[in-house]
Every structure is written in C-alpha cells, then in structure tokens.
Symmetry: C2
Subunit: 248 residues, 2 copies
Amino acid sequence: MTDTPVTAALLVIGDEILSGRTKDKNIGYVAEYLTGLGIDLREVRVVPDVEEEIVAAVNALRARYDHLFTTGGIGPTHDDITADCIAKAFGVPIDVDPRAVEMLLQRIKREDLNEARLRMARIPQGADLIENPISRAPGFRIGNVVVMAGVPAIMQAMLDNVVPGLVKGVPVTAVTIEATGLPEGLYAAGLGKIAASHADLSIGSYPSYSPGGFTNQIIVRGRDMALLQEAETRIRALLDRLRTERPS
Amino acid sequence: MTDTPVTAALLVIGDEILSGRTKDKNIGYVAEYLTGLGIDLREVRVVPDVEEEIVAAVNALRARYDHLFTTGGIGPTHDDITADCIAKAFGVPIDVDPRAVEMLLQRIKREDLNEARLRMARIPQGADLIENPISRAPGFRIGNVVVMAGVPAIMQAMLDNVVPGLVKGVPVTAVTIEATGLPEGLYAAGLGKIAASHADLSIGSYPSYSPGGFTNQIIVRGRDMALLQEAETRIRALLDRLRTERPS
C-alpha cells in the first residue's frame, strides 16, 4: 500500500460492445472493485478488434497510469487478437507458452488441442499468467498491464487472482447525503462554495430521474476522515437550512 | 444518407462512472441506437470531471470521427463543467443563452432562476440547442459534437431530438448464427478462413457463460446482403459438418 494515489485505466476490447450487441458489464464492476482497493480508475476506453487501435490505446494508457486492465479478445477465434496486440505494444515476441498449455490441458484433452485452441496459450514473452478457474485459458500480466477475458464471470475470477500482486492505495471513503426533496438548482451555489473550500475532496451531486420526478444524492469522497466529516457537516447544515427556508 | 461509412465516438463524462457509484447505462444504448442508424460507433471513452481531461478527449475524438456524442456534466452544480469544456475545446466564448433561458422558464419560475440554474443555460457561441422534454435544460450541438445529459431518460430523449439533423449511413445488417453445442475451439479454424475471405464483413464469435456452461453465437455484420448471405451459408455448412463429425 502506498500513500500517493494509485491510478488505473481500463481498456475494453471488442466490436460487440461498440455495435451494442453486447452490453458491457465489466466497466461498472472493475470501477467498483478498484475503488474498493484504493486504486483510482481515471479513464476507460472501448476500442474495436482492430490491431492498430488496440496497440495505440494500450501504449497511451499504460504510459499514463500505474495499472492498465484490459478485457476481451483472448479466446480461440480469429477476432481474438488481444495477446498479439499486447506483444506488439511491448515489442516482445509471442508464442505458445508451455505453462498456458498445461492450464488448457486441465479442461481440454491433448488430442483436442488444435491450433485454434493453442491460440489461447499464446502469451507475450515475459508475462506472468493469471489463472482462470472457469474455462482454464489464462489471462496474463506484463509490465503494468493486466489482460483478462471479456466474459464477466471469467473476468471477475481473474481480477480476484491478480489483485494480491498489485500495488494498491488507501481506499477512498464515500459519504452519501440524500438531498431528496431539494432541487439541485437550490443547493448548487452553497454546495459549490463548500466544494471550492475542500479541494482535497471530490464532491458531486447526482440526480436520478423516474417518472415521479428527480431525486438527488450528494456524494463526498476522500481519504482524510476529518476533512470528510467537516464537509459532510457543512453540507447537511446547508440542506437543513434550505429545507427550512423553502416555502412549502 | 451517404455510402461511405459514417463514424462516431462517445465520450462519457463523470467521476461517478469511474468510481463505480453509477453504473453507466448510456454506452450500450447509444451503441445500439447509432448502429440502427448506420452510424459506426468506433470508440468510447470515460473521463472524470476534470477540465483538461475533457477538453483533450473532445479535441482528440471530434477530429477523428464524423460525430462525437457526449453524456454528462450539464447540470447546475459545480461539478457540471461540460459546456465550459466544450467552449474551450472549440475556442469560442460561452455565456447564458436567451434561447436556453426560455426553455428553462417552461419549468422554473423566473424568480427561481438563480445563478446556479442559469449555469444550465450557458451555451457555447454558435451552438444549436437540443430540446429536453423532461427537465427542459437543453443539450446542444456545435460543429460535429452533440452534448447531452447523463441521466439516461433525458439522454435518450435528446438523442431522438438531435438525430433528424445528423448525417447517417447505410445501416449494417447483422446475422446471428447459434453455435450452441459446439465449442469455439472446434470451429475457430474454419471460421477464421471464412472471415479471411470476407474482409468486407465483420465476423465475430461471442461466448457467454452460465454455470451450465458456454453457449456461443457467431455474428456476421455487413452492408452487402449478397456477401452476408454467402458468408452465412458457408458458416452454417461449417457448423453442420462439425456437428456431424463430432463424436457424441
């Protein structure tokens, strides 16, 4: 664990997300998971199954953040090109890795291990494997990049397996303050002043809409409990004052 | 409508998506919506409520794609900075727009139109407004950038309102072929050959996992019906052959 913020990006790879055919379930999961570990997810990108796009995104994101996680594109079919793209991004060779073959053999008979299936054992040189308890084809970790499957259940298991080896930060604490019954436009000025005087905290106002109308939540996020409590007290006082003043 | 592909990117703006507090519902919706219009969504990015990040992403994406759609950050609170960032990205002034004020007055009494609420009427110079039938605060369109709310119901209504004015393409047709009962590793080689000989089509294999096991779908996407049918016929023949050959 480190005191300086630990940052991450997520790269979601796959035509099926961009066409809307598959609705991504990994972004929200990874976001919540990393937040719980004190790792700040700072950016997400979704790119198609196109080599130059994947390589460019991997190189841009791994240079900029402490960790880069990728999902998708590590199966046996022709459109699964993630491992080759990662090797290209790092400028290292890629070949069938005997350790990965051993993992595949836990599920697939040796005589069924055809060329397509062996694609799932192609691992860039220098990578560590990430176990896949479901379908055995491993993910891998190279440099600061963690490469995972796109299928949510497998991605989640890989995340559990890779996390012990990662640099983590101090988890952020989030305080939720219900602003129900008060429109954002009424408390925005006061909230903005409080936010401006608490630059170390992230203070957001989040409306949600249902046919019955809007309900708003204010969320204060930060790592210093004393500052968090101070901001919370000020915000609650602001909302109480507005509720009292407001003509019923 | 144009014969050349029409491309788009989506920029999702908001700390709450990156912290996992809010699970994005707009990416999948916009992806499916644009696909239906013949607009190819080529990239998605999620960035935090940080001016330099938003401005950089807007400028990178609007230069590269025919359309850029953004969601989030156009409310009345201090963390709603999208409109100002768009103005900065385009290098144009931004101020309270009388047309937007008129829209707000359909829902908010003039005496309640405080400074925070007027933030929702701040529109970059030269933009066209996008009506918001739910809470009235408009989105806007400037150059090739369409700026929408983050609340899904409002975003969806804005998308409906802005679409008539957009350049659209020839919709892609998608053919879904169930590969149930066949593992990807068995048909991957044959499918890869078919895909290689149909470079004008996008052919993908998509596994989904439930505790009962994997089910796979092959999806062929393209704009030329004759090519699509040819590929479909070849893929169905491949799967039939494998099902027959496979020891039961």
